[in-house]
C-alpha cells in the first residue's frame, strides 16, 4: 500500500498520508472504541483496588440493564421511539423528495433545496430550542389553539415523548430528504410515464416503480435518522421532561452524576450495538451495501 502511495505522490507525501490516516484510525477511531468495550467489562473500583483481586472481567455491567426495570423500559422506549421517529421522518420527507426530484421545475427545485439547506446550517440546539418556545405551556401554539377554540386549556406538550419526537423529526429531516431526493432523481422519468400510460394509479406507480428504485436512498435515510435519534442527547434534554428520559440521558448520568464510568461504558456499547444492529437489518432488508450509504 505504501509502495503505491509513494509511486504516485513521492515518499514524503506518502509518509504524511499513512501517518495521518494511521493516527486517526488507530488513536481516534479504533482504540477508543475497544477501550470502551474493555471498560464496560470491568467493575467500577476505587483507585486502590485496581489490579487487585476484584479487578477482573465481568458482564455485571450488562446485567444491570436487565435487572433495572426503569432502565430497561427506557432502553426499549428509546428503540421504539427512534423507529417511530424514523418512520415519521420518512413519511414527511417522501412527498417533498418526490416533488423536488420529479415535479418541480429546475428553478423551483434549486430554490427549495436552498431553503432546505439554510435552516440546517443552524445549530441543532437552536433549532430544538425554537420548538421549546413554540410548544411552551404558555407558548404561541397553545395560544393559537385556544384562540381558535380548538382546546379549552393549554396542553403540556413538553411533558411527554411527543414533543421529543416532533423535535427529532424536525432536527433530522434533512438526513432523510437528501438521500431520498438523490435516489428518486436518478429514476428515469419515462418509467413513471410508462406506468401512468399503462393505467397505474399514483399509489401503484409509487409502490411498484418509485419506491423500489429509491431503496438505497430510503435505507440510507433510515439508518442515519435512526442513529441520530437513538443517539440524541440534545433533543430529549431540551424538549423532554424527567418523565420522558432517553437512553442517552441515562448514559450521561452514569458518567457525570453516578460517577460509574464502567457502567456508562456498558450502556454506551449497548447503544452502539443497537445502532449497528439496526443498520445491518436495514441493509439486509433493502439489500444495499456500505458503498451505497456513503454517497
Amino acid at each position: 500500500m505504501f509502495r503505491q502511495l509513494s509511486a504516485r505522490f513521492g515518499s514524503p507525501v506518502a509518509m504524511a498520508i499513512v501517518t495521518l490516516l494511521g493516527m486517526w484510525l488507530i488513536m481516534m477511531v479504533t482504540l477508543p472504541q475497544l477501550q470502551m468495550i474493555e471498560y464496560s467489562l470491568r467493575p467500577n473500583l476505587l483507585p486502590a483496588q485496581i489490579g487487585g483481586p476484584d479487578d477482573r472481567l465481568t458482564v455485571a455491567n450488562y446485567v444491570t440493564l436487565f435487572n433495572n426495570d426503569i432502565h430497561r423500559a427506557i432502553f426499549l422506549k428509546t428503540i421504539w421511539s427512534s423507529v417511530l421517529v424514523t418512520l415519521l421522518t420518512l413519511a414527511v420527507s417522501y412527498p417533498l423528495a418526490w416533488y423536488l426530484a420529479k415535479v418541480a421545475t429546475p428553478r423551483q427545485a434549486a430554490l427549495c433545496i436552498l431553503l432546505l439547506i439554510v435552516p440546517f446550517w443552524i445549530n441543532e440546539i437552536l433549532r430544538t430550542y425554537s420548538w421549546f418556545i413554540l410548544l411552551a405551556f404558555r407558548g404561541p401554539l397553545n395560544e393559537v389553539l385556544l384562540a381558535l377554540g380548538l382546546i379549552e386549556r393549554p396542553i403540556r406538550f413538553l411533558s411527554g415523548d411527543a414533543g421529543v419526537m416532533v423535535g427529532m423529526v424536525y432536527a433530522y429531516i434533512l438526513f432523510m430528504v437528501f438521500p431520498l431526493y438523490n435516489a428518486i432523481e436518478s429514476l428515469d422519468g419515462n418509467q413513471v410515464r410508462a406506468a401512468r400510460d399503462l393505467g397505474a394509479g399514483t399509489l401503484r406507480t409509487h409502490r411498484r416503480i418509485v419506491i423500489p428504485h429509491a431503496k438505497p436512498g430510503i435505507a440510507t435515510g433510515c439508518i442515519m435518522v435512526f442513529m441520530l435519534a437513538a443517539g440524541s442527547y440534545a433533543v430529549p434534554a431540551l424538549l423532554g421532561s424527567p418523565g420522558s428520559r432517553w437512553f442517552t440521558q441515562i448514559i450521561y448520568n452514569w458518567f457525570f452524576e453516578g460517577g460509574n464510568w464502567n457502567q456508562g461504558a456498558a450502556y454506551a456499547f449497548l447503544l452502539l450495538v443497537l445502532c449497528i444492529g439496526f443498520m445491518s437489518l436495514v441493509m439486509k432488508l433493502f439489500k444495499v451495501g456500505l458503498g451505497d450509504i456513503a454517497k
Binding site: Q4, F9, C112, V118, L126, L228, L238, L290
Partner: protein
Amino acid sequence: MTSQRLLAFGLKFYIVVFFAYLFLPLIIMSLATFNDSRFPTVTPWGGTTLRWFGELWHDGGMWHALSNSLMVAAGVLVLAVPIGISSALFLNTVSSRAKPFIYALILSPLLTPGVIIGISTLIFWRQFGVSGGIFLTVLGQTTFIAAYVMLMVMARLQRFDRTMERAALDLGASQWQMFRRILLPYLKPAILSAAVIAFLQSFENYNTTLFVAGYDTTLTVYIASQVRTGLTPAVNALGLILILITVVLAVVYELKRRREVAAMARLKGG
C-alpha cells in the same frame, strides 16, 4: 383527471405547509428576542425591546464559551482537514485486499452516535491522565469530522483526470511538484468547502462535545445549559445572531458552490 389535479394541488399545498413548518419555529424564536418579557416567548407581547442584546453583551460566560468554541474549531480544522484529504488520497490510490475494511473503518465514525464517540474518547484518554477539555473536544470532534472532509474531497478527486499527473511527470515534475502544482490546486475548491463545513460542524456540535468538554464549555453547550437552567431571552438574542451569521454564510456558500458547478458544466460543454 380531476383526481390527478387534486393530487397535484395537494402536493403543492403540502410543500407550502412543509416550509412553514421548517421556518415558523425559527421565526418565532427570533421574534421572542425583542419581547420585553422575563421569559422567552411571544405570548403575551410585553412590548418591544433591545435590552436582551445588551444583557448578552455583558454575559462573560458567553464570551468565554465563544472563545472556547473558536479554539476548538481551529484545532479541528488543523487536524480534520489534513486527515480527510489523506484518507481520500489513500482510498483513491491504493488497491489492496484490505481496502474495503479500511474504507468501512473510515466511514464508521459517521454511523456511530456522537455520544459514543465522546464517551470512547473520554475513556481512552483517561489512562494518559487527560481529562475533558479543549484538547479532548478537538480529538473527539475530529474523529467524525475528518470522515466528512474525506467524503467531500473524495467526490472531487474521483473526477480527476489522471493523465494530468502523467503529463506533469512527463514534463519533468517530481511527484511532489505534481502534487503541489496540479493535484492540490485541483482539489482546492473541495478542500475549502470541506473546511467551511468542518468549522460549522465543530462549532455546532453538542452530543460529542458534551462528554469531552469538561469545564471548557463551548458556545453550543453553553446555550443548551442556559436553556435548561437560567433561561432568559438573552439566549434568543444569541440564537438570532448565530442564525443571521449562518444564514448569510449558507447563502454565500451555496451560491458560490452553484457558480462553480455551472463553471464546471461550461468547461465540460465547451
